[in-house]
Symmetry: C3
Subunit: 360 residues, 3 copies
C-alpha cells in the first residue's frame, strides 16, 4: 500500500494549542470512543453514511457533538478537509478500516491515532504470523495442503467478514465436502484447531512515558479481558454436537455477536505482559512501532500456555463491557475505559507537544 | 380478565404531595427494586408469605423498611388498604404476577407501576405472537401439527414454570417419544428451534418526556443486556451432546438459575432501538401502551438478524447484574440500575403531577 | 498436622497500635488483596520466589509496597521474623497454601488471617465431605468401587493440580480404559457427575459483630458469585461432544483458566445464606470456627437444589472480577471488593483490640 502523502507535521503544528476533536465511524466501539472523549472534555464527530444515526439519542453521554454524513464509506475520505479544519484526530477501529477499505484508510490525509503502517502487517495473514512468531509467541500450526489434515483444523476464507464461512474439518474428505467450490486454492487458510478456552486481552501501549511496566521508551498496560461470543457456534451445543448438527443439515458459523467480560487466572499475568511487550518490541524494530490500544486473541491450552491466533492493532469491541468498571483498569485508574485512556493519551501528547509521537 | 375496579384517580390525588412507598414481592428483582427506591429516598415495603425473609439482613442497602407478611400469596391482595394507607406503589415483577395469580394481580386495588392491561397480551402466546409480529419483528415459526416436524423444534408446555418440561425434537417419532402422555393437544406449543446466540435486551420507556430517543410522546432507553443461564441445558455439554445424554437416560431442562452480563455488537444497536420502538408503538395503538422496564428475548442468527421469542412487559431478572455499573446505562447516567430508573420515574411523575400517566 | 507453636498472643500485643502490613504470595488473588489493603491505608508486602515480579508495574494500585523474595516457596517460612518485624499479617489464598506446602503453611510463625486449623478439614476429601454433609448440605454421592459405575461419574486424582487429570466415565470398562495405570486404588476419588449449572458463591463471615445476617455471635455476607472457566472442557463443544472428541484422540481437561461474573436467581438467596450459615456453625462447633472469606462451589440441578462439591475456606480467585463493582457487595457497601472487606476486618479488629479473634 502506498503511504499517506499529506504533510502531517504541518497539520499537527496547526492543531497545537487548539481544541481537538475525536472522530470515528459510527459503529464497533464508537459509543466508548465518544464517551471517553467527552469525559475528557474533547469534542467529537461521528462519521456515518446515508443519514445521521438515531440510536445515539438513547445514549446521551456517548453521542457525538456533530455528525458528518457521506453517501458511501469511501466518500468519507473526501471529508478530510472538513475534518482537519475541526482539528480532528481519527481513532480507527476494525469497522472503520473495513468500511473505508484498506487503501482509502491508509491514504486518508487526516491525523490518525496509532501507526497506520501496522495495517500491512495485521491484514496479511503471513505477515501477521511472522510478527507473532518472531516475537516469540506460540501460534497455531498452519497446513499448506488440505491432504495433510489428520487432526481437527479450522478453514478460514480470506477476507471473510465475521467468520460466517469458517468451518471445521478433521480429514481431507471432510474438507472436500465442506470447501466452497468457487474458492481458489490461495483464497483459504488452514489452521490447526487449538482446543482450549479463549481469552482476548486488551492492552494499551504509550510511547509518552516509561513510568509503569516499561517497554522500549514507553509503558504497557493491560486494561481488560473478554471472550467473543459467536453465533451460532457458541450456543450450537444447545441443539447438539457439531456432528449431530451436520446430520440435521446445519453447519455452525463463527459470526461475532457480542462480548462477555472475563478475568484470567492471576498466575498467567506475567506471561500476558511479556507477550504484549514482545509484540510491541517487534513492531518498533520492524515497522515503526505499535501504540495505543491493541489486542491479543488467544486460546489457553491445558498446559496453561497461550496460543495466539490473531492480533488486532487497534481498539477491539471486547473493550465494550468495561465503561466505568474493569477488574484490571481499576488497578490503574478506577473507572477508566479504553476510550478514556485514548482521550487522555491525546490530551497529554498535545500538552507535551508530542502529538507527532502518537499520530500518523 | 376483568379490569381493576378501584378509583385510581382518587387514590393518586391522595398520594400527591405525600411520601411515596415502593412495594414488591420479596423475590426476583426485589433487591434491585428496593435498593433503587432507597437510593432515591423513597420508602419501601417487602411483601412476603409465611414469615419475614431473613436474607435481606445480609444486604442492608436492599432491605425494605418494612415487611407485610400474609399466609399465602393471594392473601396479599387483602392488604390493599394497608398498602394504600402507606402511599404504596407496587412495582410488579415476573414472580409477583406468578405468585399472586394473574386474576388477583389484575384486580388488586393498589396503584401499579406500568400498564396492567399488558398482561393479557403477554401471558397469551397467541396474542404475544401477534404483538411481536405486527410490530414487524421476526418471530420463530410455530407448527400446528407435530406431524409437520422436519427440522429441530422446541416444545413448550403452557404454564410450565421455568422451562423444566421443555424439550427439543427433530421428528414426529421423537416428539411422540418425548411428549408427556397426560398433556392434551392444546396444552403445548411447538416452535422451530432458532439456532444462534441469545441476547436479552432491557429497555425502559418513559411517557413523561420526549427528550432522547423519541418514541410516541416519550423516550426509549436500553439500559443493559444479559444472557439467561439455564440448568441443565447450558452446561449439559460438559457431559456430552444432547443425543449422548439421552442415551444415558438424561434429558436436558431449561430452568433459569441466573444471568450473565453481556454486550452486543455495536452495529446491531440501531436495530435494537427500532425493535423496542416498534413494540411500544404497537402497545399504544392497541392496548393503552407499554411503559417502564421491558425486555425482548432474542436469538441472533448467523445473518445477524434478531429472532424474538418472547417479550416481558416489566423488569426482568436479567437486570440484576447491573446495580452500580452497566456498559449501556453508564452512557445514560453512570451507576444507574433499572431499579433506580424506576424510582426516578415515579419521583418525577409525582413532582410533575403526572402519576396517572405511569400508574394503572 | 502439628499446630503452629509460636506465641501468637505476644506477637499480637506488639502489633496493637502499630501500622499493620498485609502480606501474601504474588499470585491467585494478590492484586485484589494488595489493592484492598492499599485502599484501606495498610502497608503491603509481596512474597515471591526467584525474583521480584515485574507485572505489578502495570497495575500501580495493586502493587505491594515491598517484595520479599526467597529462592523457593518453603524458604518463605524462614522470613517469619522479617514479616513479624513489619507487623505483617498473612492473608492466605489457595496458591499460597499450595506453594508453601500444607505443613509449612500450618506452622509458619506469622499471624494468619483466618483459622489455620480449617486446612485439616478442607484438604482431606473425607473430612470435607463430613463437614458439608453434617452441616446439612447436599453433596454428590461417591462410589467406593469403580465396578459400581452405572451413571456418569467424574474421577479426580488426589492432589491433582487444577483438574488436568480429571476424567468422566459412564461405565466400569470406560473407567478401566481411562484410569492412569500408575495410580493406586486409594489415589483417586469417584464422584457422581451432577449435571447442572455451576455457581461459586463468595461469602464473608465476621465474628466481630452480629449486626446484619447473624450467625453465631457474628454476621455473614455474600459478596459475589462467579463461574470458573476451565480448559478445555468449557469450550470443547466448539469442536464436538466429549464422545466425538475421544474418537479424535482428545480428552477434555478441567484446568481453571479464569472466571466469569454471574448473578443467581434471587429466589435461591435464602437457601444460599442458610448454607453459608450452616457450614460456619459446624466449623465453630467442631474446629474453632471459620471466618473471613470462603466459597461454596455448587451445581444447581433442575429441581433448583444446590449440590455442593467443594468448600474453599479462604479467598477464591472467583472474587477477582469484582474490584470496584459487584451486584451483591454493592448492596452492602458500594465498590467494596473482598480484598477491601478483608482489610477493613483487620483494621476494625485492631481498633477494637480484637486481633486475636480473627488471626491464628
Amino acid at each position: 500500500m502506498s503511504p499517506v502523502s499529506f504533510d502531517l507535521a504541518s497539520v499537527l503544528d496547526d492543531y497545537q494549542g487548539e481544541e481537538l476533536t475525536i472522530a470515528t465511524a459510527c459503529s464497533h466501539t464508537s459509543l466508548q470512543i465518544f464517551n471517553g472523549a467527552k469525559r475528557e472534555g474533547l469534542k467529537t464527530i461521528g462519521l456515518a453514511v446515508g443519514q445521521e444515526p438515531r440510536h445515539y439519542d438513547a445514549f446521551p453521554l456517548a453521542k457525538p457533538d456533530e455528525f458528518l454524513v457521506a453517501d458511501t464509506w469511501p466518500e468519507i475520505a473526501d471529508m478530510a478537509d472538513e475534518l482537519v479544519e475541526r482539528n480532528a484526530i481519527i481513532v480507527p477501529h476494525g469497522s472503520f478500516v473495513e468500511y473505508m477499505g484498506a487503501q482509502n484508510y491508509a491514504q486518508m490525509p487526516v491525523p490518525m491515532f496509532g501507526n497506520r503502517h501496522v495495517l500491512d502487517w495485521e491484514s496479511n495473514r503471513n505477515k501477521e504470523r511472522t510478527w507473532l512468531q518472531e516475537a516469540g509467541l506460540r501460534v497455531p500450526p498452519v497446513l499448506d495442503d488440505p491432504r495433510d489434515i489428520v487432526r481437527p483444523v479450522i478453514v478460514k476464507y480470506h477476507g471473510a467478514k465475521g467468520g460466517s464461512g469458517f468451518f471445521i474439518a478433521t480429514s481431507y474428505p471432510e474438507f472436500l465436502q465442506k470447501i466452497d467450490e468457487n474458492v481458489g486454492d490461495s483464497e483459504y487458510h488452514i489452521q490447526e484447531f487449538t482446543l482450549g478456552t479463549r481469552y482476548y486481552m486488551h492492552y494499551f501501549y504509550s510511547p509518552l512515558s516509561a513510568e509503569g511496566y516499561q517497554v522500549n521508551d514507553g509503558n504497557l498496560q493491560m486494561l481488560s479481558v473478554d471472550r467473543r461470543d459467536e453465533t451460532t457456534i457458541d450456543e450450537a451445543h444447545r441443539l447438539g454436537s457439531i456432528r449431530e448438527l451436520e446430520h440435521m443439515g446445519v453447519r455452525p458459523s463463527f459470526v461475532v455477536t457480542g462480548n462477555v467480560p472475563m478475568v484470567l487466572r492471576e498466575s498467567l499475568l506475567p506471561k500476558v505482559m511479556q507477550m504484549g511487550a514482545d509484540v510491541v518490541d517487534y513492531a518498533y524494530e520492524n515497522f515503526g512501532g505499535l501504540w495505543g490500544p491493541f489486542c491479543l486473541e488467544t486460546v489457553i491450552t491445558d498446559d496453561l500456555e497461550f496460543t495466539v491466533f490473531e492480533i488486532s492493532a487497534r481498539i477491539v469491541a471486547g473493550t465494550n463491557p468495561f465503561i466505568t468498571s474493569s477488574p484490571y483498569a481499576d488497578y490503574v485508574d478506577p473507572g477508566m475505559s479504553t476510550g478514556v485512556r485514548v482521550a487522555r493519551e491525546i490530551k497529554r501528547a498535545q500538552k507535551d507537544k508530542e502529538l507527532d509521537k502518537i499520530l500518523s
